[in-house]
Amino acid sequence: MSELIEMQNISLKAAEMVEEGRVHKALYSDPAIFEEELDKVFNNTWVYVGHESEVPDAGCYKTAWVGRQPVILSRDRKMNLHVLQNRCRHRGATVCEGRKGKTKSFTCPYHGWGYGLDGALRALPKPEEYEGVLDKNELPLERLRVETYQGLVFATYREDLESLYDFLGGARKWIDLFMKQGGGYPVKVLGEHRFNFPGNWKIQLENTTDAYHFPIIHKSFITSLDDATADIFDFLHGDGFVEDLGNGHSVMVMIPELVDLEDNLDQPIPPRFQKLADELRAEGRSEEEVQKLVRAAHGTGFNLNLFPNVSCSMAFLRVLRPVSVGETEIQHVALGGAGAPAPFNRKRMRLHEHFQGPMGFGTPDDGEAWERVHKGSQAGQDGWILVNRGMNNLHQSPDGNVAGAVCSETGMRGAYRQYKKVMAAGEDK
């Protein structure tokens, strides 16, 4: 084991800075490592770009990012999804601005080249100067490979990569469970919160599989809850666990009673959902449907971390984007049911606003902690970040995976193992 790394002349490669149970702090702050991550991680794996409900109809689009590259997620007239580089093939301008919308085509504002929803270059002004010079068929907006699972849309530059289905692997079963929170309706994006923090993206990657911090940093959130709800969030002593699902994915089950939202539909209505239940009954919903919607309104009792940039986190999606070695943008995407009763979706949004986003009762305290990690980890020439919590207490899950206690750092170790693997790729050549 290397105990000291000479920071002045780093010879260790990023992959060697990851050991089982600790990672070197340079991974948070070295600009050269960051550039390598954009290439080896973000350009070489499946990256989450959006949810199908964000582009429900033909002609819908939303802008997104793959690492530092701007892309467009679009739906063509035949309802096929495309992920296109947002870069005009003429001289490079973005052809689409704004977060989302509906269009018949993407027209570059600079010289007017026009592209279809599938990226094909359809027309350009004054084409005669190009006769014999260029062939439109060779200049579509560049397409990424796109695959979806349960409405989650991922893209990659790699044609030779395993399928998304295989990449998600052991995480699929948890995605299936996560998608039950539409309350019998298809899960739909209701809106999103956007904020950034001055810190490395991996600080955020670690956080959604970190139950240890919850009762400490989120004390002021817990205080704001009624007693019954506060009890539910007091999960460190419960039967929860963290399971390493492979390929960098992991699940952290905090509230085992809320793993399957279609189970236990005969519970009394908790106080914080009483008003919702009354509103649903007033709409004439059956008692069965009221129970199902109220239970779904809780969200699931687990965080599913998908490497490298999305987490299905209890009731919402957390999407991260690395901006620079010391800046990360985060979206907290609120979910509800497509066609679900309005009181249900309203309640889901109010719960989201309570904890999530830059003005929630939870996120600002997370942000403060991450900012301090970023600042504090600059101290000293050498130093390690510990992710060894719970290594003494591992067991095998029913699915045959390594699992640890709910507040163990098992999920972080899984993510860093995958990180090490992709960062080491090509090193031996």
Binding site: E192, R194, A342, N345, R346, M349, G357, M359, D365, D366
Partner: protein, 161 residues
Amino acid sequence: MSTQTQILNDVTAFIWHESDLLDHKGYQDWLQLWNEDGLYIVPAEFNADGNYEDTLNLALDDADMRSMRVARLENGESVSANSTGNTIRMVSRVRVLEAGDDLVIARCAMTLNEMRHGKLVTYPADVEYRLQPTGDGYRLAGKVVRLMHADSFLRTVSFIF
């Protein structure tokens, strides 16, 4: 002084008073300005269309949420609130949009400055006030803070806009 100028003066005085309370963390006094059914709203998009309850907002606080928000900022349990100093906000361009007997609606420009871990963070916003005239001054019946940052990315916020 014309009636219109008088109303503008009264409204501006109210807004400045409210701004001063918030900048100096006079949160309990701020809560007292509100009508019970008033909503404090920070939309998640600058051009949100006004149907706030069916939209995701950064904040949509009824009386309960307002008291809980203030409690979180004051009770010492929130590390981000503890490390937030005073804010300084500038309010200008006040315009009375409607001056009814029961409701006065006004709009103004506001820029809030925060020193966060040694860096100045600035939030420009368009703020709409709904004020209910009473025998002695106005009651706050609604406040909507449209942040320019809402269309982009905010820093996390442990104060009240």
